[in-house]
Amino acid sequence: MSAVSASSQPILDVRSVSKRFGGVEALKGVSLQLHPGEVVALAGDNGAGKSTLTKMISGVYAADGGEIRLDGKPVSFATPEAARREGIETIYQDLALADNLSIGANIFLGREPMRRAFGFLPVLDRRAMAVAAKETMATLDFHVDRLDAPVGRFSGGQRQAVAIGRAIYWNARVILMDEPTAALGVPEQRKVISLIKMLKDQGRGVIFISHNLQDIFAVSDRIIVLLRGSLAGERRIQDTNHDEVVKLMIGG
């Protein structure tokens, strides 16, 4: 089924997974492979099963059938935290950032480093958080002067970078992005596209859901189109064009 993908061992190998919600079959045996340094776009109309598929990869839903392999080993995640521990991070559309906290505090939210003040009193290690934030954001070519500024002061694309920074700090190897460019203006969309390219250059695998064909063609290696819960088609980006993808999406 995935004859078009490269031959190296995939990081993520989704094998014919299915999911049913009551009487609705949301996914009917869909397969997907993701290799290191590869960007796969997930396209399809509303209700095609894109979100269901990513939520199964990220541990939100359990698969009813099929299996998911990570580095060749079958895995099953009970919770998103379990998936995250294995290096699968999701960047949600709303970014899930605490706007009133600094970049460092957001990166470490829920697992803050502590130090001992006066040798006995445990306190937040803000310096360690700031240093990690600065280094992590530098790998995304994001150079921060004011590390104490709350992320709410940053623009949409910059906040997207912070969310990505949080994922890569925790060694995400597979990054799932849900409509990363949907809420942004055009210059900001370009920045996010360049961020995705950087993740690719760093050897991470990226799966991103998008409706925007321009973005898909700008950054992905492969495109997977879903239609009503089934695979409508999988193409290498250089072998296809807008028209064909649209036809796949609408089932023409």
Partner: protein, 345 residues
């Protein structure tokens, strides 16, 4: 792994013009500026009208701080709850309940025990009983998804009724020399209750500013989704917040009983509004996500100075309510303007 540093893809926004930064600084410091302004006004008024100092009188300073203790204690717990995006309307009557229980238990224990352990039993009972409504608040809000405003309003009624029933509708006098000394004694020249409150402020300042608990409180107020996805146990955290708020109110009740050597169900009745006002004047936003302990301290002092100062310059006491109300409204307006500027929160 290392990305090329060829082009700056993203550079954060410039911090803004000096004028804008100055406005944001004023907004952030508003409680302390308010306090300074009030002290200057009362000082001038006092000198012109009576030819005496207002601020520099140690008697006045002491009266104001003692006056500020009870609303401050309620406000400290309320600060956490408000930062997390909630509200606790039950603190006033939790304080009353705690005051009544502390008095009753001290008296009962005093019949069989010496005064000191009897006092300790009373304090433990007062603090302990406050945890009951706090636990129920947290359970209603986190498990049953009752909006905090409604859940704690219900608890306001329950705690009020329980306190009056236990006190048989009257005040419960305490005869315990240790308790009286706690409430009215001095240590190194400072009133003991002020020292206790100051220590408590330090602990709360540490808790909010330097611990994971505090950090998660801010995160919860900014975005519950962000907190959930970061793996923070939001329900558990919420329950802790309302326990903390109730415990602060319980301490307020115990210190009330100590100060007046009597427990009264209505001990905290006028303090609910004052405590929320102190938090809001102190820079917290009722939308959640912002606020500090030092701001709340300043807010509590602002209210105490207004109330004491107006009496001092011989204004009819009812004007206090008007003045505090106006200060609350101004604070909320400043908060909204600050949000529009998109500044520090």
């Amino acid at each position: 792994m290392v990305a090329q540093m060829s082009s700056k893809v993203l550079v954060p926004r410039k911090p803004g013009t000096p004028a804008k930064r100055w406005i944001l600084w004023v907004a952030a410091m508003r409680a302390w500026l308010f306090l300074a302004l009030l002290l200057i006004v009362f000082e001038i008024w006092s000198r012109l009208s009576y030819g005496t100092t207002f601020v520099l009188s140690s008697y006045n300073a002491q009266s104001i701080t003692i006056f500020a203790v009870a609303p401050l204690l309620l406000a400290l717990g309320e600060t956490f709850v408000i930062i997390a995006g909630g509200i606790d309307l039950s603190v006033g009557f939790i304080m009353g309940l705690s005051a009544v229980i502390a008095a009753l238990v001290t008296n009962k224990a005093g019949a069989v025990l010496p005064p000191f352990p009897a006092m300790l039993a009373g304090i433990a009972a007062g603090l302990g009983v406050s945890l009951v409504p706090g636990a129920v608040n947290g359970w209603l809000i986190s498990k049953l998804k009752v909006p905090p405003f409604i859940g704690t309003l219900g608890m306001f009624g329950v705690a009020r009724g329980a306190a009056f029933i236990l006190a048989s509708g009257t005040t419960v006098p305490v005869s315990n020399s240790w308790f009286a000394a706690l409430g009215n004694g001095r240590f190194l020249g400072f009133p003991v209750i002020v020292i206790i409150a100051a220590l408590f402020v330090l602990v709360m300042h540490y808790l909010l500013g330097q611990t994971r608990f505090g950090q998660h409180t801010y995160a919860l107020g900014a975005s519950e989704q962000a907190a959930v996805r970061a793996g923070i146990g939001v329900g558990r955290h919420t329950r802790k917040l309302y326990l903390l708020s109730a415990l602060c109110a319980g301490l307020g009740g115990v210190l009330y009983t100590a100060r007046f050597t009597a427990g009264a169900a209505q001990a905290g009745e006028p303090l609910l509004l004052d405590s929320i006002a102190a938090v809001v004047i102190g820079g917290a936003s009722l939308f959640g996500g912002s606020g500090t302990i030092l701001g709340t301290v300043a807010g509590s002092l602002v209210i105490a100075v207004i109330q004491y100062g107006l009496v001092f310059i011989d204004v009819e006491p009812f004007w206090q309510f008007v003045a505090v109300g106006i200060v609350i409204i101004i604070s909320v307006l400043v908060d909204q303007t600050q949000r529009k500027f998109g500044g520090d929160r």
